[in-house]
Amino acid sequence: MEASKVIHAIYTDDDVLMSAVKKVKAERYHIEEIYTPFPVHGLDKAMGLAPTRIAIAAFIYGLIGLTVATVMMNYIMIEDWPQNIGGKPSFSYLENMPAFVPIMFELTVFFAAHLMVITFYLRSRMWPFKEAENPDPRTTDDHFLMEIAVDGNEEALENLLKETGAVEISLIDKAH
Protein backbone atom coordinates (compact mmCIF):
# COMPACT_ATOMS: atom_id res chain seq x y z
CA MET A 1 0.00 0.00 0.00
CA GLU A 2 1.12 3.46 -0.81
CA ALA A 3 1.63 5.83 2.04
CA SER A 4 -1.54 7.77 2.55
CA LYS A 5 0.00 10.55 4.58
CA VAL A 6 2.34 13.13 3.12
CA ILE A 7 4.11 16.19 4.39
CA HIS A 8 3.91 19.41 2.45
CA ALA A 9 6.87 21.69 3.02
CA ILE A 10 6.66 25.15 1.52
CA TYR A 11 9.66 27.24 0.54
CA THR A 12 9.85 30.77 -0.80
CA ASP A 13 13.18 30.65 -2.57
CA ASP A 14 14.43 28.31 -5.27
CA ASP A 15 17.98 28.25 -3.92
CA VAL A 16 16.72 27.21 -0.50
CA LEU A 17 14.56 24.60 -2.21
CA MET A 18 17.55 23.22 -4.07
CA SER A 19 19.66 22.80 -0.96
CA ALA A 20 16.64 21.33 0.86
CA VAL A 21 16.17 18.75 -1.87
CA LYS A 22 19.82 17.75 -1.61
CA LYS A 23 19.57 17.43 2.17
CA VAL A 24 16.34 15.43 2.08
CA LYS A 25 17.80 13.15 -0.59
CA ALA A 26 20.94 12.71 1.51
CA GLU A 27 18.75 11.58 4.43
CA ARG A 28 17.21 9.02 2.06
CA TYR A 29 13.64 10.28 2.21
CA HIS A 30 11.51 9.75 -0.86
CA ILE A 31 10.34 12.99 -2.46
CA GLU A 32 6.99 12.32 -4.08
CA GLU A 33 6.66 15.57 -5.99
CA ILE A 34 7.81 19.16 -6.13
CA TYR A 35 5.59 22.01 -7.26
CA THR A 36 7.28 25.18 -8.53
CA PRO A 37 5.95 28.28 -10.29
CA PHE A 38 8.76 28.20 -12.86
CA PRO A 39 11.50 25.82 -14.04
CA VAL A 40 14.26 25.56 -11.44
CA HIS A 41 17.47 24.67 -13.25
CA GLY A 42 19.15 21.58 -11.92
CA LEU A 43 16.14 20.47 -9.87
CA ASP A 44 15.69 17.31 -11.94
CA LYS A 45 19.35 16.42 -11.41
CA ALA A 46 19.12 17.09 -7.67
CA MET A 47 16.01 14.90 -7.43
CA GLY A 48 17.69 12.21 -9.50
CA LEU A 49 14.99 12.12 -12.17
CA ALA A 50 15.73 10.09 -15.28
CA PRO A 51 16.49 12.19 -18.37
CA THR A 52 13.69 12.68 -20.85
CA ARG A 53 13.56 10.59 -23.99
CA ILE A 54 11.29 12.96 -25.87
CA ALA A 55 14.08 13.95 -28.30
CA ILE A 56 14.45 10.32 -29.36
CA ALA A 57 10.71 10.12 -29.89
CA ALA A 58 10.85 13.31 -31.98
CA PHE A 59 13.62 11.87 -34.15
CA ILE A 60 11.53 8.78 -34.87
CA TYR A 61 8.48 10.92 -35.63
CA GLY A 62 10.60 12.94 -38.05
CA LEU A 63 11.62 9.76 -39.86
CA ILE A 64 7.97 8.77 -40.07
CA GLY A 65 7.14 12.18 -41.56
CA LEU A 66 9.93 11.81 -44.11
CA THR A 67 8.64 8.38 -45.07
CA VAL A 68 5.07 9.62 -45.39
CA ALA A 69 6.18 12.47 -47.67
CA THR A 70 8.30 10.21 -49.84
CA VAL A 71 5.72 7.44 -50.20
CA MET A 72 2.92 9.93 -50.82
CA MET A 73 4.68 11.88 -53.54
CA ASN A 74 6.17 8.81 -55.14
CA TYR A 75 2.70 7.34 -55.43
CA ILE A 76 0.97 10.50 -56.62
CA MET A 77 3.57 12.04 -58.89
CA ILE A 78 5.46 9.03 -60.22
CA GLU A 79 3.35 5.89 -60.02
CA ASP A 80 -0.27 6.90 -60.20
CA TRP A 81 -0.23 9.59 -62.86
CA PRO A 82 3.22 10.52 -64.15
CA GLN A 83 2.12 13.56 -66.14
CA ASN A 84 4.54 15.84 -67.90
CA ILE A 85 4.14 19.05 -65.92
CA GLY A 86 6.30 21.79 -67.37
CA GLY A 87 8.93 19.33 -68.53
CA LYS A 88 9.76 17.99 -65.09
CA PRO A 89 11.19 14.47 -65.28
CA SER A 90 8.55 12.35 -63.59
CA PHE A 91 10.12 9.07 -64.71
CA SER A 92 11.49 8.18 -61.30
CA TYR A 93 11.42 9.65 -57.83
CA LEU A 94 15.12 10.42 -57.80
CA GLU A 95 15.06 12.33 -61.06
CA ASN A 96 12.39 14.68 -59.83
CA MET A 97 13.50 14.74 -56.21
CA PRO A 98 14.67 18.36 -55.86
CA ALA A 99 11.08 19.44 -56.46
CA PHE A 100 9.90 17.21 -53.61
CA VAL A 101 12.50 18.21 -51.05
CA PRO A 102 10.59 21.24 -49.68
CA ILE A 103 7.60 19.00 -48.90
CA MET A 104 9.79 16.23 -47.50
CA PHE A 105 11.44 18.77 -45.22
CA GLU A 106 8.21 20.35 -44.06
CA LEU A 107 6.46 17.07 -43.36
CA THR A 108 9.47 15.85 -41.40
CA VAL A 109 9.33 18.95 -39.23
CA PHE A 110 5.55 18.81 -39.01
CA PHE A 111 5.48 15.21 -37.81
CA ALA A 112 8.42 15.65 -35.47
CA ALA A 113 7.00 18.79 -33.86
CA HIS A 114 3.34 17.89 -33.56
CA LEU A 115 3.71 14.28 -32.54
CA MET A 116 6.35 15.28 -30.01
CA VAL A 117 3.97 17.85 -28.48
CA ILE A 118 1.16 15.33 -28.39
CA THR A 119 3.50 12.81 -26.77
CA PHE A 120 4.39 15.41 -24.20
CA TYR A 121 0.72 16.03 -23.41
CA LEU A 122 -0.02 12.33 -23.12
CA ARG A 123 2.97 11.54 -20.96
CA SER A 124 2.39 14.50 -18.64
CA ARG A 125 -1.38 13.92 -18.63
CA MET A 126 -2.46 17.32 -19.85
CA TRP A 127 -5.67 17.97 -21.69
CA PRO A 128 -8.50 20.50 -21.73
CA PHE A 129 -10.93 20.21 -18.79
CA LYS A 130 -8.35 18.28 -16.88
CA GLU A 131 -8.72 18.89 -13.16
CA ALA A 132 -5.72 20.78 -11.82
CA GLU A 133 -3.59 18.78 -9.42
CA ASN A 134 -2.37 21.75 -7.51
CA PRO A 135 -2.07 21.21 -3.75
CA ASP A 136 -1.65 24.91 -3.01
CA PRO A 137 -2.51 27.76 -5.38
CA ARG A 138 0.48 29.77 -4.12
CA THR A 139 2.84 27.39 -5.93
CA THR A 140 1.76 28.97 -9.22
CA ASP A 141 2.97 32.35 -8.04
CA ASP A 142 5.89 32.52 -5.65
CA HIS A 143 5.97 29.44 -3.43
CA PHE A 144 7.69 26.11 -3.80
CA LEU A 145 6.16 22.97 -2.36
CA MET A 146 7.88 19.71 -1.61
CA GLU A 147 5.74 16.65 -0.99
CA ILE A 148 7.29 13.79 1.00
CA ALA A 149 5.69 10.52 1.95
CA VAL A 150 5.62 9.78 5.68
CA ASP A 151 5.55 6.43 7.33
CA GLY A 152 5.48 6.90 11.05
CA ASN A 153 8.50 9.18 11.12
CA GLU A 154 6.73 12.55 11.01
CA GLU A 155 8.65 14.17 13.80
CA ALA A 156 12.15 13.47 12.50
CA LEU A 157 11.11 14.55 9.03
CA GLU A 158 9.45 17.73 10.26
CA ASN A 159 12.58 18.67 12.17
CA LEU A 160 14.73 18.02 9.14
CA LEU A 161 12.48 20.15 6.92
CA LYS A 162 12.49 22.98 9.45
CA GLU A 163 16.26 22.91 9.34
CA THR A 164 16.28 23.19 5.57
CA GLY A 165 14.40 26.49 5.73
CA ALA A 166 10.80 25.49 5.06
CA VAL A 167 8.43 28.32 5.97
CA GLU A 168 5.39 26.09 6.37
CA ILE A 169 5.09 22.39 7.14
CA SER A 170 1.81 20.58 7.17
CA LEU A 171 0.79 16.95 7.46
CA ILE A 172 -1.78 16.04 4.82
CA ASP A 173 -3.96 12.98 4.88
CA LYS A 174 -4.32 11.83 1.31
CA ALA A 175 -6.68 8.98 2.01
CA HIS A 176 -9.77 9.06 -0.14
Partner: protein, 446 residues
Protein backbone atom coordinates in the same frame (compact mmCIF):
# COMPACT_ATOMS: atom_id res chain seq x y z
CA UNK B 1 51.92 29.81 -22.48
CA UNK B 2 51.90 27.32 -25.28
CA UNK B 3 55.15 25.90 -26.58
CA UNK B 4 55.25 24.68 -30.15
CA UNK B 5 56.41 21.11 -29.76
CA UNK B 6 59.36 20.18 -31.94
CA UNK B 7 57.52 17.12 -33.13
CA UNK B 8 54.67 19.17 -34.52
CA UNK B 9 57.06 21.73 -36.01
CA UNK B 10 59.00 19.00 -37.78
CA UNK B 11 55.73 17.48 -38.92
CA UNK B 12 54.64 20.77 -40.47
CA UNK B 13 57.98 21.13 -42.25
CA UNK B 14 57.73 17.60 -43.60
CA UNK B 15 54.24 18.37 -44.89
CA UNK B 16 55.49 21.54 -46.56
CA UNK B 17 58.51 19.86 -48.17
CA UNK B 18 56.54 16.85 -49.37
CA UNK B 19 53.82 19.17 -50.63
CA UNK B 20 56.26 21.46 -52.41
CA UNK B 21 57.93 18.49 -54.11
CA UNK B 22 54.56 17.14 -55.22
CA UNK B 23 53.42 20.54 -56.47
CA UNK B 24 56.67 20.90 -58.42
CA UNK B 25 56.15 17.44 -59.87
CA UNK B 26 52.61 18.42 -60.84
CA UNK B 27 53.83 21.49 -62.71
CA UNK B 28 56.64 19.58 -64.41
CA UNK B 29 54.37 16.87 -65.76
CA UNK B 30 51.56 19.12 -66.89
CA UNK B 31 53.21 20.58 -69.98
CA UNK B 32 52.25 18.23 -72.74
CA UNK B 33 53.00 18.95 -76.37
CA UNK B 34 50.30 18.90 -79.04
CA UNK B 35 51.43 15.48 -80.29
CA UNK B 36 51.56 14.00 -76.82
CA UNK B 37 47.98 15.03 -76.15
CA UNK B 38 46.97 13.71 -79.55
CA UNK B 39 48.37 10.26 -78.80
CA UNK B 40 46.94 10.40 -75.30
CA UNK B 41 43.46 11.03 -76.65
CA UNK B 42 43.85 8.34 -79.28
CA UNK B 43 44.91 5.88 -76.59
CA UNK B 44 41.97 6.85 -74.42
CA UNK B 45 39.53 6.17 -77.22
CA UNK B 46 41.26 2.80 -77.78
CA UNK B 47 40.54 1.96 -74.21
CA UNK B 48 36.95 2.81 -74.91
CA UNK B 49 36.88 -0.06 -77.44
CA UNK B 50 37.34 2.08 -80.53
CA UNK B 51 40.27 0.85 -82.62
CA UNK B 52 40.23 3.38 -85.42
CA UNK B 53 42.12 6.58 -84.69
CA UNK B 54 40.23 8.43 -87.40
CA UNK B 55 36.88 7.30 -86.13
CA UNK B 56 37.79 8.44 -82.64
CA UNK B 57 38.57 11.88 -83.99
CA UNK B 58 35.24 11.94 -85.72
CA UNK B 59 33.59 11.03 -82.46
CA UNK B 60 35.24 13.99 -80.80
CA UNK B 61 34.01 16.23 -83.58
CA UNK B 62 30.45 15.10 -83.23
CA UNK B 63 30.84 15.56 -79.47
CA UNK B 64 31.45 19.23 -79.88
CA UNK B 65 28.48 19.44 -82.25
CA UNK B 66 29.78 21.90 -84.80
CA UNK B 67 30.38 22.13 -88.56
CA UNK B 68 29.93 19.09 -90.76
CA UNK B 69 32.34 20.15 -93.51
CA UNK B 70 35.54 18.16 -93.96
CA UNK B 71 38.02 20.96 -93.44
CA UNK B 72 36.07 22.20 -90.46
CA UNK B 73 36.62 18.79 -88.92
CA UNK B 74 40.37 19.27 -89.05
CA UNK B 75 40.00 22.61 -87.25
CA UNK B 76 37.70 20.99 -84.73
CA UNK B 77 40.20 18.24 -84.15
CA UNK B 78 43.00 20.76 -83.61
CA UNK B 79 40.80 22.85 -81.33
CA UNK B 80 39.83 19.82 -79.31
CA UNK B 81 43.44 18.78 -78.78
CA UNK B 82 44.39 22.31 -77.76
CA UNK B 83 41.44 22.42 -75.39
CA UNK B 84 42.53 19.21 -73.67
CA UNK B 85 46.15 20.38 -73.67
CA UNK B 86 45.08 23.51 -71.84
CA UNK B 87 43.02 21.53 -69.35
CA UNK B 88 45.99 19.30 -68.53
CA UNK B 89 48.18 22.37 -68.05
CA UNK B 90 45.55 23.92 -65.78
CA UNK B 91 45.46 21.06 -63.33
CA UNK B 92 48.46 21.88 -61.06
CA UNK B 93 47.43 25.54 -60.98
CA UNK B 94 43.88 24.72 -59.97
CA UNK B 95 45.01 22.11 -57.47
CA UNK B 96 47.26 24.68 -55.84
CA UNK B 97 44.55 27.32 -55.92
CA UNK B 98 41.86 25.10 -54.42
CA UNK B 99 44.11 24.08 -51.51
CA UNK B 100 45.29 27.67 -50.96
CA UNK B 101 41.74 28.94 -50.92
CA UNK B 102 40.58 26.15 -48.65
CA UNK B 103 43.09 26.94 -45.90
CA UNK B 104 42.63 30.69 -46.32
CA UNK B 105 38.90 30.25 -45.87
CA UNK B 106 39.42 28.35 -42.61
CA UNK B 107 41.32 31.35 -41.23
CA UNK B 108 38.76 33.81 -42.54
CA UNK B 109 35.84 31.75 -41.26
CA UNK B 110 37.43 31.62 -37.82
CA UNK B 111 37.98 35.40 -37.97
CA UNK B 112 34.30 36.00 -38.74
CA UNK B 113 33.31 33.64 -35.93
CA UNK B 114 35.64 35.44 -33.54
CA UNK B 115 34.22 38.84 -34.45
CA UNK B 116 30.69 37.54 -33.96
CA UNK B 117 31.57 36.17 -30.52
CA UNK B 118 32.93 39.56 -29.48
CA UNK B 119 30.16 41.62 -31.04
CA UNK B 120 27.47 39.40 -29.51
CA UNK B 121 29.31 39.42 -26.16
CA UNK B 122 29.06 35.68 -25.94
CA UNK B 123 29.57 34.36 -22.44
CA UNK B 124 30.71 30.85 -23.32
CA UNK B 125 33.50 31.41 -25.82
CA UNK B 126 36.11 33.77 -24.31
CA UNK B 127 38.20 30.79 -23.14
CA UNK B 128 38.57 29.87 -26.80
CA UNK B 129 39.51 33.36 -28.00
CA UNK B 130 43.24 32.70 -28.08
CA UNK B 131 42.73 29.56 -30.15
CA UNK B 132 40.64 31.58 -32.60
CA UNK B 133 43.22 34.36 -32.68
CA UNK B 134 45.87 31.77 -33.45
CA UNK B 135 43.89 30.38 -36.38
CA UNK B 136 43.18 33.85 -37.78
CA UNK B 137 46.93 34.50 -37.99
CA UNK B 138 46.74 32.53 -41.21
CA UNK B 139 44.38 35.02 -42.90
CA UNK B 140 47.09 37.47 -44.00
CA UNK B 141 49.63 35.04 -45.51
CA UNK B 142 46.92 32.69 -46.74
CA UNK B 143 44.89 35.34 -48.54
CA UNK B 144 47.98 36.92 -50.06
CA UNK B 145 48.96 33.52 -51.42
CA UNK B 146 45.51 33.06 -52.95
CA UNK B 147 45.67 36.41 -54.74
CA UNK B 148 49.27 35.77 -55.75
CA UNK B 149 48.37 32.41 -57.32
CA UNK B 150 45.37 33.96 -59.08
CA UNK B 151 47.39 36.83 -60.52
CA UNK B 152 50.34 34.57 -61.35
CA UNK B 153 48.08 32.22 -63.26
CA UNK B 154 47.24 35.15 -65.54
CA UNK B 155 50.71 36.65 -65.80
CA UNK B 156 53.35 33.95 -65.34
CA UNK B 157 51.06 31.10 -66.27
CA UNK B 158 48.97 30.76 -69.36
CA UNK B 159 45.60 31.93 -67.95
CA UNK B 160 45.31 28.63 -66.17
CA UNK B 161 42.54 29.46 -63.71
CA UNK B 162 40.63 32.49 -64.95
CA UNK B 163 39.91 32.57 -68.66
CA UNK B 164 38.76 36.20 -68.46
CA UNK B 165 42.43 37.07 -67.88
CA UNK B 166 43.23 35.89 -71.42
CA UNK B 167 42.94 38.90 -73.78
CA UNK B 168 42.44 36.56 -76.73
CA UNK B 169 39.44 34.90 -75.13
CA UNK B 170 37.99 38.27 -74.17
CA UNK B 171 38.42 39.57 -77.72
CA UNK B 172 36.06 36.87 -79.01
CA UNK B 173 33.66 36.88 -76.11
CA UNK B 174 30.97 39.54 -75.93
CA UNK B 175 29.78 38.37 -72.52
CA UNK B 176 33.19 38.73 -70.89
CA UNK B 177 33.75 42.04 -72.69
CA UNK B 178 30.61 43.30 -71.01
CA UNK B 179 32.02 42.31 -67.62
CA UNK B 180 35.57 43.50 -68.22
CA UNK B 181 34.88 46.68 -66.24
CA UNK B 182 34.92 44.43 -63.17
CA UNK B 183 36.93 41.48 -64.41
CA UNK B 184 40.39 42.79 -65.25
CA UNK B 185 43.67 41.90 -63.62
CA UNK B 186 44.64 45.28 -62.09
CA UNK B 187 41.21 45.76 -60.55
CA UNK B 188 41.15 42.14 -59.43
CA UNK B 189 44.48 42.52 -57.65
CA UNK B 190 43.54 45.89 -56.17
CA UNK B 191 40.22 44.59 -54.83
CA UNK B 192 41.96 41.56 -53.42
CA UNK B 193 44.49 43.72 -51.63
CA UNK B 194 41.74 45.96 -50.21
CA UNK B 195 39.86 42.94 -48.85
CA UNK B 196 43.01 41.49 -47.34
CA UNK B 197 44.03 44.85 -45.88
CA UNK B 198 40.64 45.22 -44.18
CA UNK B 199 40.60 41.69 -42.76
CA UNK B 200 44.21 41.85 -41.59
CA UNK B 201 43.78 45.27 -40.02
CA UNK B 202 40.84 43.99 -38.02
CA UNK B 203 42.78 40.89 -37.05
CA UNK B 204 45.80 42.97 -36.06
CA UNK B 205 43.87 45.36 -33.84
CA UNK B 206 41.57 42.73 -32.37
CA UNK B 207 44.62 40.77 -31.31
CA UNK B 208 46.34 43.88 -30.01
CA UNK B 209 43.37 44.95 -27.87
CA UNK B 210 42.88 41.39 -26.68
CA UNK B 211 46.45 41.17 -25.41
CA UNK B 212 46.35 44.71 -24.03
CA UNK B 213 43.20 43.83 -22.07
CA UNK B 214 45.13 41.10 -20.23
CA UNK B 215 47.07 43.66 -18.20
CA UNK B 216 44.76 46.67 -18.45
CA UNK B 217 43.27 48.38 -15.40
CA UNK B 218 40.01 49.33 -17.09
CA UNK B 219 37.78 47.94 -19.83
CA UNK B 220 38.69 50.41 -22.57
CA UNK B 221 40.36 47.74 -24.71
CA UNK B 222 37.32 45.54 -24.43
CA UNK B 223 35.12 48.41 -25.61
CA UNK B 224 37.43 49.10 -28.51
CA UNK B 225 37.50 45.47 -29.56
CA UNK B 226 33.71 45.39 -29.38
CA UNK B 227 33.42 48.43 -31.67
CA UNK B 228 35.90 47.22 -34.26
CA UNK B 229 34.27 43.78 -34.27
CA UNK B 230 30.93 45.35 -35.17
CA UNK B 231 32.55 47.49 -37.87
CA UNK B 232 34.50 44.54 -39.21
CA UNK B 233 31.40 42.39 -39.56
CA UNK B 234 29.82 45.03 -41.80
CA UNK B 235 33.01 45.28 -43.86
CA UNK B 236 33.37 41.52 -43.90
CA UNK B 237 29.97 40.69 -45.26
CA UNK B 238 30.45 43.04 -48.22
CA UNK B 239 34.01 42.02 -48.97
CA UNK B 240 33.36 38.32 -48.44
CA UNK B 241 30.59 38.49 -51.01
CA UNK B 242 32.79 40.34 -53.51
CA UNK B 243 35.68 38.02 -52.74
CA UNK B 244 33.53 35.03 -53.65
CA UNK B 245 32.64 36.62 -57.01
CA UNK B 246 36.25 37.46 -57.71
CA UNK B 247 38.13 34.46 -56.44
CA UNK B 248 35.63 31.71 -57.17
CA UNK B 249 32.64 32.66 -59.28
CA UNK B 250 34.76 34.33 -61.96
CA UNK B 251 36.30 31.00 -62.96
CA UNK B 252 32.99 30.61 -64.79
CA UNK B 253 32.71 34.15 -66.14
CA UNK B 254 29.55 33.34 -68.11
CA UNK B 255 27.68 32.23 -65.05
CA UNK B 256 26.41 34.06 -62.01
CA UNK B 257 24.38 33.30 -58.94
CA UNK B 258 23.05 35.77 -56.40
CA UNK B 259 23.38 33.66 -53.28
CA UNK B 260 26.90 32.56 -54.13
CA UNK B 261 28.52 34.83 -51.53
CA UNK B 262 26.39 33.34 -48.77
CA UNK B 263 27.09 29.88 -49.99
CA UNK B 264 30.86 30.39 -49.87
CA UNK B 265 30.44 32.07 -46.50
CA UNK B 266 28.62 29.05 -45.09
CA UNK B 267 31.40 26.81 -46.31
CA UNK B 268 34.16 28.94 -44.75
CA UNK B 269 32.25 29.49 -41.53
CA UNK B 270 31.64 25.83 -40.83
CA UNK B 271 35.23 24.94 -41.78
CA UNK B 272 36.55 27.67 -39.50
CA UNK B 273 34.42 26.49 -36.57
CA UNK B 274 35.45 22.89 -37.18
CA UNK B 275 39.13 23.80 -37.08
CA UNK B 276 38.55 25.77 -33.87
CA UNK B 277 37.09 22.59 -32.39
CA UNK B 278 39.92 20.38 -33.66
CA UNK B 279 42.71 22.66 -32.42
CA UNK B 280 40.93 23.12 -29.10
CA UNK B 281 40.68 19.36 -28.67
CA UNK B 282 44.34 18.97 -29.64
CA UNK B 283 45.55 21.62 -27.18
CA UNK B 284 43.23 20.28 -24.48
CA UNK B 285 44.66 16.80 -24.96
CA UNK B 286 48.13 18.32 -24.43
CA UNK B 287 46.89 19.97 -21.22
CA UNK B 288 47.31 23.52 -22.45
CA UNK B 289 43.66 24.43 -21.94
CA UNK B 290 42.72 23.29 -18.42
CA UNK B 291 39.88 25.83 -18.33
CA UNK B 292 38.14 24.37 -21.39
CA UNK B 293 35.67 21.61 -20.63
CA UNK B 294 33.16 19.47 -22.46
CA UNK B 295 30.53 22.19 -22.21
CA UNK B 296 32.59 24.42 -24.48
CA UNK B 297 33.13 21.52 -26.82
CA UNK B 298 29.40 20.90 -26.83
CA UNK B 299 28.75 24.49 -27.93
CA UNK B 300 31.36 24.41 -30.69
CA UNK B 301 29.95 21.11 -31.92
CA UNK B 302 26.47 22.62 -31.95
CA UNK B 303 27.80 25.34 -34.23
CA UNK B 304 29.39 22.71 -36.47
CA UNK B 305 26.08 20.90 -36.63
CA UNK B 306 23.98 23.99 -37.25
CA UNK B 307 26.23 25.50 -39.90
CA UNK B 308 26.56 22.19 -41.71
CA UNK B 309 22.81 22.35 -42.10
CA UNK B 310 23.00 26.02 -43.06
CA UNK B 311 25.53 25.16 -45.77
CA UNK B 312 23.23 22.44 -47.07
CA UNK B 313 20.32 24.85 -47.08
CA UNK B 314 22.24 27.27 -49.29
CA UNK B 315 23.72 24.53 -51.46
CA UNK B 316 20.29 23.11 -52.08
CA UNK B 317 18.66 26.49 -52.57
CA UNK B 318 21.16 27.36 -55.27
CA UNK B 319 20.93 23.97 -56.90
CA UNK B 320 17.17 23.60 -56.73
CA UNK B 321 16.34 27.07 -58.06
CA UNK B 322 18.60 26.55 -61.07
CA UNK B 323 17.48 22.95 -61.63
CA UNK B 324 13.82 23.89 -61.39
CA UNK B 325 13.84 26.78 -63.82
CA UNK B 326 16.42 25.06 -66.06
CA UNK B 327 17.43 28.28 -67.85
CA UNK B 328 20.17 27.28 -70.31
CA UNK B 329 22.62 30.08 -69.46
CA UNK B 330 22.76 29.19 -65.80
CA UNK B 331 22.00 25.48 -65.73
CA UNK B 332 25.20 24.58 -67.63
CA UNK B 333 27.02 25.19 -64.36
CA UNK B 334 25.31 22.24 -62.73
CA UNK B 335 25.19 20.10 -65.86
CA UNK B 336 28.98 20.04 -66.12
CA UNK B 337 29.22 19.32 -62.42
CA UNK B 338 26.60 16.63 -62.49
CA UNK B 339 27.96 14.89 -65.58
CA UNK B 340 31.68 15.06 -64.91
CA UNK B 341 31.82 15.32 -61.09
CA UNK B 342 28.99 13.10 -59.98
CA UNK B 343 30.85 11.43 -57.11
CA UNK B 344 32.39 14.56 -55.52
CA UNK B 345 29.29 16.63 -56.24
CA UNK B 346 26.93 14.22 -54.51
CA UNK B 347 29.53 12.83 -52.13
CA UNK B 348 30.08 16.23 -50.53
CA UNK B 349 26.38 16.45 -49.66
CA UNK B 350 26.78 13.22 -47.74
CA UNK B 351 29.97 14.41 -46.04
CA UNK B 352 28.79 17.95 -45.34
CA UNK B 353 25.21 17.19 -44.43
CA UNK B 354 24.12 13.60 -43.85
CA UNK B 355 27.18 12.59 -41.87
CA UNK B 356 27.41 15.57 -39.46
CA UNK B 357 23.61 15.68 -39.24
CA UNK B 358 23.39 12.14 -37.92
CA UNK B 359 26.67 12.16 -35.96
CA UNK B 360 26.25 15.47 -34.15
CA UNK B 361 22.53 15.37 -33.48
CA UNK B 362 22.81 13.57 -30.17
CA UNK B 363 23.68 15.88 -27.29
CA UNK B 364 25.89 13.27 -25.61
CA UNK B 365 27.99 12.68 -28.73
CA UNK B 366 28.76 16.38 -29.02
CA UNK B 367 30.62 16.14 -25.71
CA UNK B 368 32.92 13.28 -26.74
CA UNK B 369 36.20 14.63 -28.18
CA UNK B 370 37.03 11.78 -30.55
CA UNK B 371 33.52 11.85 -31.89
CA UNK B 372 33.78 15.56 -32.68
CA UNK B 373 37.20 14.96 -34.25
CA UNK B 374 35.83 12.26 -36.56
CA UNK B 375 32.86 14.38 -37.59
CA UNK B 376 35.14 17.41 -37.98
CA UNK B 377 37.57 15.64 -40.28
CA UNK B 378 34.74 14.49 -42.51
CA UNK B 379 33.31 18.03 -42.57
CA UNK B 380 36.69 19.50 -43.48
CA UNK B 381 37.27 16.99 -46.24
CA UNK B 382 33.75 17.63 -47.49
CA UNK B 383 34.38 21.34 -47.71
CA UNK B 384 37.64 20.80 -49.54
CA UNK B 385 35.59 18.84 -52.08
CA UNK B 386 33.12 21.71 -52.10
CA UNK B 387 35.81 24.19 -53.20
CA UNK B 388 37.20 21.56 -55.57
CA UNK B 389 33.84 21.24 -57.30
CA UNK B 390 33.54 25.04 -57.50
CA UNK B 391 36.88 25.55 -59.25
CA UNK B 392 37.86 22.41 -61.13
CA UNK B 393 34.99 22.03 -63.64
CA UNK B 394 35.83 25.47 -65.04
CA UNK B 395 39.56 24.82 -65.37
CA UNK B 396 40.23 21.13 -65.98
CA UNK B 397 36.74 19.97 -66.91
CA UNK B 398 36.42 16.21 -67.05
CA UNK B 399 40.22 15.76 -66.71
CA UNK B 400 40.00 15.94 -62.91
CA UNK B 401 41.45 13.53 -60.47
CA UNK B 402 42.50 13.77 -56.85
CA UNK B 403 46.07 12.69 -57.40
CA UNK B 404 49.57 13.92 -56.75
CA UNK B 405 49.04 17.64 -57.56
CA UNK B 406 45.89 17.92 -55.43
CA UNK B 407 47.12 15.97 -52.42
CA UNK B 408 50.52 17.68 -52.50
CA UNK B 409 48.89 21.09 -52.58
CA UNK B 410 46.80 20.11 -49.54
CA UNK B 411 49.93 18.91 -47.73
CA UNK B 412 51.83 22.06 -48.61
CA UNK B 413 49.18 24.41 -47.27
CA UNK B 414 48.31 22.15 -44.33
CA UNK B 415 51.96 22.34 -43.28
CA UNK B 416 52.03 26.10 -43.71
CA UNK B 417 48.73 26.43 -41.85
CA UNK B 418 49.95 24.34 -38.91
CA UNK B 419 53.21 26.25 -38.79
CA UNK B 420 51.63 29.72 -38.88
CA UNK B 421 48.78 28.89 -36.50
CA UNK B 422 50.82 27.13 -33.85
CA UNK B 423 53.54 29.75 -34.03
CA UNK B 424 50.89 32.40 -33.39
CA UNK B 425 49.56 30.34 -30.46
CA UNK B 426 52.94 30.56 -28.71
CA UNK B 427 52.89 34.35 -28.78
CA UNK B 428 50.37 34.92 -25.99
CA UNK B 429 48.88 33.09 -22.98
CA UNK B 430 46.06 30.77 -23.97
CA UNK B 431 43.57 32.36 -21.59
CA UNK B 432 42.30 35.92 -21.98
CA UNK B 433 42.93 37.42 -18.56
CA UNK B 434 41.15 40.74 -18.34
CA UNK B 435 38.26 40.05 -20.65
CA UNK B 436 35.02 40.89 -18.81
CA UNK B 437 33.30 37.62 -19.71
CA UNK B 438 36.24 35.40 -18.85
CA UNK B 439 34.86 34.24 -15.51
CA UNK B 440 31.47 33.47 -16.98
CA UNK B 441 33.14 31.52 -19.73
CA UNK B 442 35.32 29.54 -17.32
CA UNK B 443 32.27 28.60 -15.27
CA UNK B 444 30.22 27.95 -18.36
CA UNK B 445 27.97 25.01 -17.90
CA UNK B 446 25.47 23.69 -20.34
Amino acid sequence: MYTFSNKLKTFSFILMILGALGVGYGFMTSHKSFEEVETLLAEESHHGGDHSVDASHDAHVSDSAHGEEAHAQVDEHKEHIEHVQHQIANRPWSALYVAAFFFMMIGLGALAFYAIQIASQAGWSPVLFRVMEGITAYVLPGALIVVAIAVASGTIGHYNIFIWMDPEVVAHDKLIQGKSGWLNIPMFALRGLIFIAGWSLYRHFARKFSIAQDTAEDKSNFKKSFRIAAAFLVFFIYTESMMSWDWIMSVDPHWFSTLFGWYVFASMFVSGITVIALITIYLKSRNFLPFVNENHLHDVAKFMFAFSIFWTYLWFSQYMLIWYSNIPEEVTYFITRFNDYKLPFLGMVVMNFVFPFLMLMNADYKRIPWFVVMAGLVILFGHYIDIFVMIMPATVGDRWFIGVPEISAILLFAGLFIFVVFTALTKAPLLVKGYPFRKESEDFHY
